[in-house]
């Protein structure tokens, strides 16, 4: 077995609050190997986004993080500022949910795409623009030269998310963190953008941590799934989608309405914090 590209071991993130502590990541452990895709699913507030923030060390300084996060065998939590910047710019690429908010509106699309290459890698501006044009074309953006001269507000959400994907691919990272990359888009743009992300990732052999609420989508484009609840990973593996074993996963998968079945009431999750604590107590 080769060394995993990304390894999280018992990662805890605790927020110090007035009158106590709140543990928002509670012993998260998983591995992603090179070229592998892991889908991270779970309800809102379960800690999916926090996990990506912990991986890129973008958590608010108010958090106390313990455990181990290693990328290519190097501890991320122990990196100094220079190493951290190198890690962020070359090793991981982050695709955010809302490209409209995550791309600076006052600079041209071309500046957004090339700034990391030009500033951090010393690539000549012309060369960086040439590479950006090639990549925009690959992610299905028509008239890429013209797009470089446009401002973000002149592009649709789907187009801007492709620009975001292209910006990540331009940096040639080994791991892509995609935090609900299609949630803010309309339905047709969603499937296009996801198809492009999946295709590009496979073609380049990049690893992916894919966060989503869409269980089918996660199962379709990921090798393994990890299910989060209350800051913990309750179950993970290739079996999760077809043969879940944890009660929460079973309920979560059962809660999806089926298109060929008529039901009077939609199933709801009965699993709550109390059940969760009870189960944990039983297991230990």
């Amino acid at each position: 077995m080769t060394e995993p590209l990304l390894m999280l071991d018992d990662v805890r993130a605790t927020l110090r609050l007035r009158g106590g502590h709140q543990t928002l990541l509670d012993g998260v452990s998983f591995e992603i190997h090179a070229g592998e895709a892991l889908g991270l699913v779970g309800e809102s507030g379960s800690g999916k986004s926090l996990t990506t923030r912990a991986i890129t060390r973008m958590l608010d300084p108010a958090f106390r993080v313990s455990g181990e996060i290693a990328f290519d065998g190097t501890s991320v939590l122990a990196m100094n500022q220079a190493a951290l910047r190198r890690y962020r710019s070359t090793d991981v690429g982050m695709i955010f949910q809302d490209p409209r908010a995550h791309v600076n509106p006052v600079h041209r699309v071309g500046d957004f795409l090339t700034e990391a290459l030009v500033r951090e890698r010393g690539v000549d501006r012309r060369e960086a623009e040439r590479r950006a044009v090639v990549l925009l074309d690959e992610v299905g953006v028509r008239n890429p030269e013209q797009r470089l001269r446009q401002y973000p507000h002149e592009l649709s959400g789907g187009l801007l998310q492709r620009v975001m994907i292209a910006s990540v691919l331009l940096a040639e990272p080994k791991l892509i963190l995609a935090d609900e990359p299609t949630t803010a888009l309309d339905v047709t743009a969603q499937s296009d953008v996801m198809a492009i992300l999946d295709e590009q990732r496979r073609a380049r052999g990049l690893a992916l941590l894919f966060i989503t609420h869409d269980l089918e989508l996660a199962a379709a484009c990921c090798d393994r799934l990890a299910v989060m609840y209350a800051g913990e990973i309750v179950e993970q593996g290739a079996h999760v989608y077809h043969a879940p074993t944890h009660p929460y996963t079973v309920e979560l998968l059962g809660a999806r309405p089926s298109i060929d079945q008529r039901v009077d009431r939609l199933p709801v999750l009965r699993y709550d914090r109390e059940t969760h604590e009870l189960l944990k107590a039983e297991a230990s």
């Binding site: 710019s89 955010f96 995550h102 006052v106 990391a116 951090e120």
Partner: protein, 316 residues
């Protein structure tokens, strides 16, 4: 909207504002008690014949609208009028003083921009103790009247240390800059403090934006992020406040001009108001209004460069 249409619209707006303000100022001076006769004829007054002669010469007894219309007609022909107190053309009175005020306001504007933006950015990014210190200094600067600052500057740097002259506007070039340094400092303290607070708030807000996170997670250098993504995006409120400040400095310079015995537009305006020198008051107000409108038009124009989402003449 094209640049041409935009300029035309702004020029039309300027004319309308000028018309309204000139009417209001003229009306208020007309309603205010007192008459320029007292200044022309001296403290002992004149004989009834003299009074009648002066009144007739300057049309002082004509109805309000007749006098306003006559003044307006002169302006349209490019004649700013004749000062009955100085016995000089108003245009030469103004052109002799506008340079001083312009130099003073320009220097103050540069100081305000540099100090205000630097202090505000510093406070926002460093936080903690530095922020406290900057904010407190800004509060003190904001609440200290410019004449107090002026007198303090004179007593320390002009009288005490002898680095700068105490009064006058110099003989041009470097000499003018040396002469105007203390007045410009006195004039800029409150506005720089205000701009620092605005900059601080704006920079704090922009640093929390999602696109700044994107830049950080891409591993860009912190200094570059501050310049290219935080400060650059904070410019709208900064430029707005700076523009308004510069426009009001022209009129606000009057106190500082008096403290430092500078012969500028401000002191001319105050004296003209006290002496009911209609033509001078009107002309100076016209200059102030033009400056105000022009500075605001420039600020609006700058918006379109600062934020590409704002179109020329849009209501955003």
């Amino acid at each position: 909207m094209s640049l041409r249409a935009y300029l035309l619209r702004r020029a039309g707006g300027l004319l309308l504002v000028l018309l309204v303000t000139s009417f209001i100022v003229f009306g208020l001076l007309y309603l205010a008690p007192g008459s320029p006769l007292a200044f022309i004829l001296g403290p002992r007054g004149g004989t009834p014949e003299q009074i009648a002669a002066v009144t007739a010469q300057y049309h002082l007894n004509d109805p309000f609208f007749v006098r306003y219309a006559a003044w307006l007609g002169d302006i349209l022909r490019g004649d700013l009028g004749y000062s009955i107190v100085y016995r000089q053309d108003v245009s030469s009175l103004i052109s002799g003083r506008i340079g001083t005020t312009l130099a003073l306001v320009s220097m103050a504007a540069v100081i305000i921009a540099v100090v205000g933006v630097a202090a505000g950015t510093f406070a926002a990014l460093r936080g903690g103790w530095s922020d406290q210190l900057t904010s407190t200094t800004a509060a003190i600067g904001l609440s200290t009247p410019s004449f107090v600052v002026g007198v303090a500057l004179i007593s320390i740097f002009a009288v005490g240390l002898g680095w700068f002259p105490t009064f006058g506007s110099g003989t041009g070039g470097l000499d003018t800059i040396v002469h105007l340094t203390l007045p410009a400092l006195a004039l800029s303290v409150a506005s720089a403090a205000y701009l620092a607070r605005i900059t601080r708030a704006s920079v704090l807000e922009e640093s929390g934006r999602e696109h700044v996170q994107t830049a950080t997670v891409r591993g860009l250098a912190p200094g570059y992020i501050v310049r290219h993504h935080v400060l650059r995006n904070s410019l709208i409120p900064i430029v707005t406040v700076l523009g308004l400040t510069i426009a009001t400095l022209i009129a606000g310079a009057v106190v500082v001009e008096n403290v430092f015995a500078l012969d500028g537009l401000g002191s001319l305006l105050v004296r003209a108001i006290l002496q009911r020198d209609f033509a001078v008051v009107q002309a100076v107000i016209l200059v102030l209004v033009v400056a105000f409108v022009v500075v605001n038009a420039i600020v609006d124009f700058l918006y379109t460069f600062i934020d590409p989402r704002i179109a020329l003449g849009s209501r955003q």
